[in-house]
Amino acid sequence: MKKLLAVLFSFMLLFALACGKESDVVKKGETIKIGFLGPMTGDAGNYGKLMSQAVKIAVEEFNAAGGAEGFNAEVIVEDTEGKVEKANPAIEKLAGVDKVFGIVGSVFSSVSLAVAPKAEAAKIVMVSPSSTHKDLPGKGKFIFRDVMSDALQAVVFGKYLANIEKVKTVAILYIKNDYSQGLAMDFKEQFEKEGGKVVAIETALQGDKDFKTQLTKIKGTSPEALYVPNYVAEIAQILEQAKQLGIKTKFYSADGFSNPQIIELAGELANGVIYTQAAEQPTSQKRKDFEAKYQAKWGEKPDAFSLNAYDGAWIMLNAIKATAGKGANGNLKVDRDKIRDYVAKTKDFDGASGKVTFTADGDLVANIGIYTAENLKFKQLKMFKLDGEKLVELK
């Protein structure tokens, strides 16, 4: 019996080893696979759709330029619906079946936090174009993002509201997910440190449509401003219902607001909302080219996250190209650790979103822009840099 078990186990070990080796080789005639992980359907489906289209463009360009050693790349899009329970099987598939070398994603912070350990374990470089939770880059060596951290966003916005807009009292209404909660808490801490007062803090669940109870309670505390760091489906409902309840305060939000769908859902109500997002860098030719290509191919405008997704895809494709080498029988040998090290060294990468540099953690070095919606269009008002504790305006 023992013998049988020993034989069985050695076979399993052999099998596992063989598989491990296998995953780092792209056979002749096959493609280099990278993954995209994000919500393709559901309330948040528009985020994933826009970003995955950007990744597809990057892959097309990569292939048109000859790929890596003549090997073409391919993107596998997996739908998370923005939910952790859907994302888990999706990452298992990308890591186990498709054996991807890199993942652009995931989109939502809660999902990225959940899948990060799995990407790390499978040695898949993950570059999130939109997960802004402050804890994400710390989740592992293979985890990166080319979107700025919430901690930065919230700290800058707390300082900005208290010191520059001179707002004294704020009410917060956030959705219980990692993104909104992280922003709300960091903002509250900073705003209070600057001498501001948070008069009401209300929560709701993702997917809620009725915020009247919370808004009525908030109205009773008559704040000067309302901070709603949520995603567009909820923000649209909040704006509409706040108006119905006669709340006339100013509205502030974060980069979740930057999806163009807000204009469709909230219409005129979106005007005047002020929000933070990574500062817009001088429009480069690269960005113009990308936007034109995107418009031509998909018939719609890319959002800010799509620029990040495009850059993220290029960063990992470049890394694969630079580190992969021809192996035996015309196969392509790929080394996951080398890819990771190459990505980690990214400095001043000239992307569509601007210059991308990663910190030692894998976080993005970024300036923060203060934006608003005006006449149903997004517009950057000011730009700030955090210099130690001081907020410095960039001209």
């Binding site: 359907t41 919370q214 009525t216 409902q237 309840l245 006669g246």
Partner: protein, 310 residues
Amino acid sequence: MNLFNIPHNELLQHLINGLTLGAIYSLIALGYTMVYGILKFINFAHGEILMLGAYAGYYIYYFICDPTQGGVFVIFAFIISILTAMVCSASLGVIVERVAYRPLRKAPRLAPLLSAIGVSIVLMNLAALFFGTKSKKFDFPFDNSTLQAGGTSITPNQIMILAVGLIMMAALKLFVDRTRLGKAMRATSQNQSVAALMGINVDFIISLTFAIGSALAAVAGVLMALEFKLYPTMGQMAGLKAFIAAVVGGIGNISGAMLGGIILGLLETFGVVIIGIPQGLKDTIAFSALIIILLVKPSGLLIKNIREKV
């Protein structure tokens, strides 16, 4: 200030919010309760019939007019689209009954229940496939600017929800209590075979019940879409809540469903405000209410006024 240490106008505001929510729940709960009253089974596809009714209304509405234009014609178009939505949902309800429930009428009670859940999943995913999963905005046919009175505000849409809800429920009550068909319906719910012996066409009455319940759901669906936007899963939670409302009020009892809906709407609003249940746990209020009612008074608040069958 009052007992709860909340300003009066704020309390009144919560009352209005709770009542509108409750009116929607009631309208949906009626469908559950009517079907249960007659077939002793829960039609779990009811929420999806509501959702499809709302979509039908949406497409017809935007086919006839451009709601951003405003004016009398838009209101007219809106009324037409509600009526068409009612017809669509009613036919769908009848078809679903004919296809998925009637063949199982003699089967064990679990079978039609499972069939209902299946229909619900199929309809929801079909909607996601054909209409897309993005939320759609349903423009108001009228100017939905808030009416203010002493710190309390109400929107024309909330008034419409309350009014339409009230009218529909009153009409249904009159229909069931005062007309021959209503009488036949009550007879069928008491004893199908005896009703058949009295010359009542039981199959027809059951189809009628589904049609009426589904038409009411379509109205609720359109009202919900105006208030909370349109999306394929809109019927899911609303359907569950309405089911709870029906149980709380006493399932099978029409007045009970109305009462249960209103109570649930108020509970959800005031549970948060007065008892201080965290807003994130709002949905648990409804389910706790279900558990408590099942433990304390399983027959519901209003007991059905018929004697036990012998």
